[in-house]
């Protein structure tokens, strides 16, 4: 047996994943096909754990909205086309499912995103439903190809306010991360 330590310690990485109760993760350039395939695996895995159809549906839907938001954003910023995304599905210490993801943005876009996520925390169930319906009635011309509903929908499905953070990077960029507890 060779005793040379590999430059990438996969075992240590795996220990970290296990400690954080990460059941499924992805780090790399994200494509439509990958979103679909990982989503299918996620559903099958949760069904295998005998989770209720509602629980499977909620986790799947937050995963889809989050990853499709990242895809849509990346496609709208050609300068960021080579940037990768990080996506995690895990359980917290109470066994609740957590969907989190992070990606690189233009710093100004990151600030704008924080401004959209933060007010959602002040809304209760009815307030979020009203916000969803208001956004649903926005004229198509005002939409820019996206329905603008994803964040509100995630907040409606979450059992706690959405948590997000922005970490400044070089070159006028920033790393945005979002965590949704179901």
């Amino acid at each position: 047996m060779t005793q040379t330590a590999p430059s990438l310690d996969i075992f240590a990485l795996r220990e970290t994943f296990n400690r954080e109760r990460i059941m499924l993760c992805f780090n790399g350039p994200i494509t439509a096909t990958l979103i679909e395939e990982i989503g299918t695996a996620l559903r099958k895995h949760m069904e295998g754990l005998q989770e209720s159809p509602s629980a499977v549906s909620d986790v799947f839907s937050v995963y889809i909205e989050m990853t499709q938001n990242i895809r849509r954003y990346t496609q709208s910023r050609p300068a960021l086309a080579m940037e990768t995304a990080s996506v995690f599905v895990s359980r917290d210490e109470d066994g609740r499912y957590v969907v989190s993801a992070g990606n690189v943005l233009e710093a100004a876009d990151g600030e704008a995103l924080l401004q959209r996520v933060e007010p959602l925390a002040r809304l209760d169930k009815d307030g979020l439903k009203a916000a969803f319906k208001t956004q649903l009635r926005q004229p198509r011309e005002a939409l820019d190809g996206s329905a603008g509903l994803g964040l509100i929908d995630m907040a409606r499905k979450a059992s706690a306010p959405l948590q997000c953070s922005l970490r400044p990077l070089d070159g006028g960029r920033a790393f945005f991360s979002l965590r949704v507890v179901l």
Partner: protein, 125 residues
Amino acid sequence: MDNLDIPQTNASPAIRADWEAGLIAMQGDSYPENSFELFQPLIDWVEAYLAQPERPLRLELELLYLNTSSIRALMDILDLLEEAHRKGRQVSVRWSYDGANERVGELAAEFKEDCTFPFDIAAKV
């Protein structure tokens, strides 16, 4: 106007629209990235269909999970039906789903809130 027959994929529903029968049927999940593109032919079809006088239009839905842009596209279609209904047109929706999947029933119920035409939600046991 031609009939529509868009085959189902993992992420997009089967969409059929039958001009003679006045019937639209959709089955499956709907979470494509480009929901607006997917549903635009159907929106055009519904507009053309409702532009002719008198004939009733029926929607038979067995949709499961919808991403938010599919929700928006479906609402645009239901708004067309609502507008026609208010002008006296006979339109209706029947949404059947597996009763074990409560989220589908809740989604259908939320669409129904904004419709005054006959809208049946049928949970299969």
